[in-house]
Symmetry: C2
Subunit: 318 residues, 2 copies
Amino acid sequence: MKNSENDLIEGVNSGSRVCLSKLISLVESDKSAIFRIIDSLNKRTESSYVVGITGPPGAGKSTLTNRLIQNYRKKNLSVAVLAVDPSSPFTGGAVLGDRIRMQEHALDDEVFIRSIGSRGDLGGLSSATSAIIKLFDSFGMDIVIIETVGVGQTELDIIKISDCVLVTLVPEAGDGVQAMKAGLMEIGDVFVVNKADRGGAEKLAREIDYMISLKHKNTNWNTKVILAEAENDVGTKNIVNEIDSFKEYEIQSNELNKKRTLRKVSEIETLLFQRMKYELESLKLDKDVKNIMSKVSKSDLEPEEAVNLIFKLFKKNF
Amino acid sequence: MKNSENDLIEGVNSGSRVCLSKLISLVESDKSAIFRIIDSLNKRTESSYVVGITGPPGAGKSTLTNRLIQNYRKKNLSVAVLAVDPSSPFTGGAVLGDRIRMQEHALDDEVFIRSIGSRGDLGGLSSATSAIIKLFDSFGMDIVIIETVGVGQTELDIIKISDCVLVTLVPEAGDGVQAMKAGLMEIGDVFVVNKADRGGAEKLAREIDYMISLKHKNTNWNTKVILAEAENDVGTKNIVNEIDSFKEYEIQSNELNKKRTLRKVSEIETLLFQRMKYELESLKLDKDVKNIMSKVSKSDLEPEEAVNLIFKLFKKNF
């Protein structure tokens, strides 16, 4: 571990927001960093509760996130927000226009907001997301909200990192069916019909209710649909209460523990691959490996033969 | 290498079609096999010329492939066909209905036709495709035709394995624009407007011509659009001639060598990952690794810490 990294970790462990911000940038840009620092981070027994917010573009997710922050602050809970935008290569800081409306929290030390891009990562959420959640957790945030700006796989991947998934929809023609097709019905623990002042909100809520009733249930949780107008702060308190009820249910039924354990075990596989990747990257700088590569480019070796040779080296030097 | 594998390789090296068929099944089902056998396969100086055929469903790719086989056989060249269907989990043998019309070649020893599915592979072409091309090459096939039945990424990935990419379109409303959007304009070395007896064929050809003229050119190849009716064997000879011209151009300009070299070098990375994957799979069976995993499931270890420990073991035992 580098000296400067040590300073950052000490900073985070003693509550410095500046160090947290810098450490987030570090794990975002250097995906091997989390392996070096994980041992030195503060550990908590009562960890952050992770709320994932997903839904189609234009569903008002950022506005809703802002309302959730306000509600949690009223309960005196600290909140971290991570907005993941898979279409954006930009990272760090508040790059999204929507983030602007969260600036009212800029002076609140118990609120931490961050956007990351994930373009270039292999589909879905950025591989940095789970590392950043760990930093928020270690920093002592009570609630971590992950907001996905993206569509497709990112929407669904949110279930892999969230304790509670909030699916946000708006009354649009066929939106319920679209959501079902996209697999959103399967992952929601709480459903929100936002912009409920528009026509068709009740109808969409009934559609979702019906689709929920068709789901194969393997839990005792009674999934509800909540009507809201995040813009006008209507129904947002209900949403927070519903998330709380879900958390309570998860704790009582031991579902939360089970979910987190499963998540950790499946995370090992992903992390092993990441780790392998760095090892391979550094291997590529090796003189002998470069020699082998150059033989392939001269057609003296087939790629498979090269890989066999590289692995022999790997085993010897590793 | 297993004994039976040795027999198969010897068979392939001495020209047995049955052994070739079995060896293809082997590299298809066991993706580590190619690493074991590559050293023992016959090497050729004059290797197969790989023609990739892609285009939207219903463009008549199989009919066209059939005509290409006939044309190449008239030139006394041997032809292997690999049809990749990413939507199909079925593999081996002639599973596609379209293959039936190729049965006229069933008794021709210089024609070898095979279908593979690629469902379950991570997007695009099956990772077995490039291994199977190597088997065809070693077997001495003059022409290898890769026909993608799929859409999306598979269509585009064909450029990674082909010496010449044939894009096949049919006159349909907006088909040219669709093709452009799908990225097909970028990858075609030869364009075919099939079913040219339908209305709109000339118009589509002009559209494609125009789009080709807009392309940023970094070669001296003059990409052409050929009108054809594969069903009635109209224009198919022109297509074969155009492929020949492209091959000639590629050889004269040294583009073919450059392309193949780049391909091999970039293949090393993919293969290194594949190889890593097997190593990881076997690692998971290790007793110590199992112990570490169980600590994670008891929340005694964070996944990142587990990966650190597993890698320490890996380095020690590897």
